[in-house]
């Protein structure tokens, strides 16, 4: 029995290792100076320096990460809020055209975003919104909302309507019902929605690139633009990437309890 356990633990380590290694490498690279960077064979042990981070500060590159945080958090939170409310309506109420509406919402996700580049650019350009946070936020809400609606609806459907009715009899107002009963009951599901939306938006490059300007560009775009005099400055790239990963790690750390529950909720039935 124990041999089995050891064997599988080793396999697990190997698999995790394969995924973590690139991230680890980048973290190492962030602390290397120019010279150590290009050494072959690559060095794992060296004296870490802060050079790359200093340079980032000089170019105010951290602003990019701040932009990412602003744009992402606003979009996913608004998307989740609207999505939840819409999902509730779609789940609980009957009205003509409901199925059509549902189909329409999901169908918007069936098209690859690249189809939209030109229309969206033209639209925001005309409105004079190029380079604003708002343009990116609106786009991201548009992209994540269908998914938020659809998944939230699935979770709400799971809850029998008699809970709503019991809450009515118990004297809960609708808002209190949401706050104290419904949302806590589907919390893992909502967190799952949050995480999927997060992944979509945080790393998005294409539209962000088009819609932002040098002050509002998020980190995904900023990374592409880091150029040194002689080609890419990998040290700075790595440093920025390191900082870029921090907000996500913090967030995941805070919500990890809900993550496993939310992601496996549909599977283990």
């Amino acid at each position: 029995m124990n041999v089995k356990k050891i064997f599988w633990t080793i396999i697990a380590f190997i698999i995790v290792g394969i995924y973590i290694f690139p991230v680890y490498w980048i973290y190492l690279t962030a602390f290397k100076d120019r010279a150590t960077l290009f050494e072959l064979p690559p060095k794992f042990i060296f004296t870490p320096v802060w050079d790359n981070f200093d340079e980032l500060m000089r170019y105010n590159a951290l602003q990019a990460v701040v932009n990412s945080v602003i744009v992402t958090s606003i979009s996913i939170l608004v998307s989740l809020l609207i999505g939840f409310l819409a999902a509730y309506g779609l789940s609980r109420y009957k009205y003509p055209g409901k199925n059509l509406m549902l189909f329409y919402i999901i169908s918007t996700r069936m098209m690859p975003p690249i189809v939209f580049i030109i229309p969206i650019y033209m639209m925001f350009s005309y409105l004079g919104m190029k380079g604003t946070y708002l343009s990116m936020i609106l786009f991201y809400i548009g992209v994540t909302l269908p998914f938020a609606v659809w998944m939230s609806k699935t979770f709400i459907d799971e809850i029998s309507i008699e809970i709503d009715q019991a809450a009515q009899l118990d004297g809960f107002t609708t808002i209190d019902f949401f706050r104290k009963i419904l949302i806590p009951m589907i919390a893992p599901g909502l967190v799952a929605v949050l995480v999927f939306s997060l992944i979509t938006v945080w790393n998005e490059f294409l539209m962000a690139n088009i819609l932002s300007d040098p002050f509002t560009r998020p980190a995904s775009v900023a990374l592409a633009n880091i150029r040194g005099e002689r080609g890419f400055n990998w040290g700075r790239v790595a440093a920025l990437e390191l900082i870029y990963t921090i907000p996500v790690i913090i967030l995941i750390f805070l919500i990890q309890k809900y993550l496993v529950r939310g992601l496996t909720l549909g599977v283990v039935r």
């Binding site: 809970i163 009715q165 019991a166 009899l169 118990d170 004297g171 809960f172």
Partner: protein, 384 residues
């Protein structure tokens, strides 16, 4: 010694109506669940609504609670027409079929919600929760979450939550399904005791005839959206008004024989392909014309020879098919030549081997006869 009629009118005279349904029509989707429905529920009493799944019991309760709007007719609670009043303001409390307890709250919090949302003080709430918990024997569960409770405990909590608020009507929708026999009878006794002591108006829906019989003084038999009989358990069991009610209340245990009535002078016989039984004419209202009839004999009114009483008459010979021991009584199944099964209830543990042939006797004074339309042709004035 009282007759059933006397027994009934005594209790009716002192009470008055808490809930009334007048000419009610409810439609769900395209289906008319019931129409022109008139029902009244006494204040301070437990009334049972008995009916098979799909009869409309849940719809009925939800209409009284306000979750379903009637198309026609009125729902009247304590004299007030509440058709336009939302559920939260109808002063109604309900235990749902799926027992809606909030999973993320403790038992204490669950039971307290009807009060905590309405601004009762902490002390008041605590007092009420503790006393109900004691009454329902769930004090030990107050700090736990619903998912950790056993079936019986979960039900008790749901009932406590329903009873904690002061309402004009308490609605219970099949709260005991899926529970073990023993727990069911315990909870049943509990509800009866609560109904007695708290004197609250309760409406209890169930598809289980024995549960209805055990619970209720007043039972509405509700089939396909219509009331087919209303009365006490004893009445439904001994004097069912139609073959439909008899079959349903009999729960598959009543022996139902389809056959013909033949007359020879003043003798009336009921004949099937397996047997021919003499019916004493004095139990029938009029001397029935010859034709197709259905004979219903309850299992406790058929016994194998050694257990039969002197007044019993011979029915038929049957071979033991199987036995079902029900504690101190045994239900013995006999197979007749035609393959029909006859059920006999014996008041002891009796386990003859399969295939043994026995003579079966029946109590002629207890048979029920229904004509082709399912209408009884019995004389009901027999006092018991």
């Amino acid at each position: 010694m009282t007759t059933i009629q006397e027994y009934r009118s005594e209790s009716e005279s002192e009470s008055s109506i808490a809930v009334e349904l007048r000419n009610l029509k409810v439609v769900l989707g395209k289906k008319v669940v019931f129409e022109d429905l008139n029902m009244s529920f006494e204040r301070g009493r437990l009334t049972v609504v008995l009916g098979p799944p799909g009869a409309g019991k849940t719809t009925l309760l939800k209409t009284i609670a306000g979750f379903i709007d009637p198309v026609e007719g009125e729902v009247v609670i304590e004299g007030r027409v509440v058709n336009d009043v939302p559920p939260s303001q109808r002063n109604v409390s309900m235990v749902f079929q799926t027992l809606a307890l909030y999973p993320h709250m403790t038992v204490y919090e669950n039971i307290a919600t009807p009060l905590s949302t309405r601004g009762f003080s902490k002390e008041e709430i605590d007092e009420k929760v503790q006393s109900l918990a004691k009454l329902l024997k769930i004090t030990h569960t107050l700090d736990r979450k619903p998912e950790t409770l056993s079936g019986g405990e979960y039900q008790r909590v749901a009932i406590a939550k329903c009873l904690i608020k002061d309402a004009q009507v308490y609605l219970m929708d099949e709260p005991f399904i899926n529970l073990d026999l023993k727990i069911r009878s315990e909870l049943r006794d509990e509800i009866k005791r609560l109904a007695e002591t708290l004197k609250k108006t309760m409406i209890f829906a169930t598809p289980d005839p024995s549960e209805a019989l055990a619970l209720g003084e007043k039972i509405y038999v509700f089939m396909e959206g219509k009331i087919v009989q209303f009365g006490q358990g004893v009445e439904l069991y001994k004097m069912p008004k139609s073959l439909e009610v008899a079959t349903y209340v009999g729960e598959g245990l009543f022996n139902i024989f389809k056959g013909e009535i033949l007359r020879k002078g003043s003798n009336v016989t009921f004949a099937t392909e397996d047997f021919s039984a003499k019916i004493p004419p004095d139990i029938l209202a009029d001397v029935p014309s010859e034709g197709k009839y259905t004979l219903v004999i309850r299992p406790e009114d058929i016994k194998p020879r050694r257990f039969a009483e002197d007044s019993y008459e011979f029915l038929v010979k049957g071979k033991v098919y199987t036995v079902e021991v029900l504690g101190g009584d045994t239900l013995v199944y006999y197979e007749l030549d035609s393959g029909a099964i006859v059920k006999s209830l014996v008041n002891t543990i009796y386990r003859p081997s399969t295939g043994v042939e026995e003579e079966l006797y029946f109590d002629p004074g207890e048979v029920l006869v229904f004509n082709e339309k399912g209408v009884p042709v019995m004389k009901w004035s027999k006092s018991i």
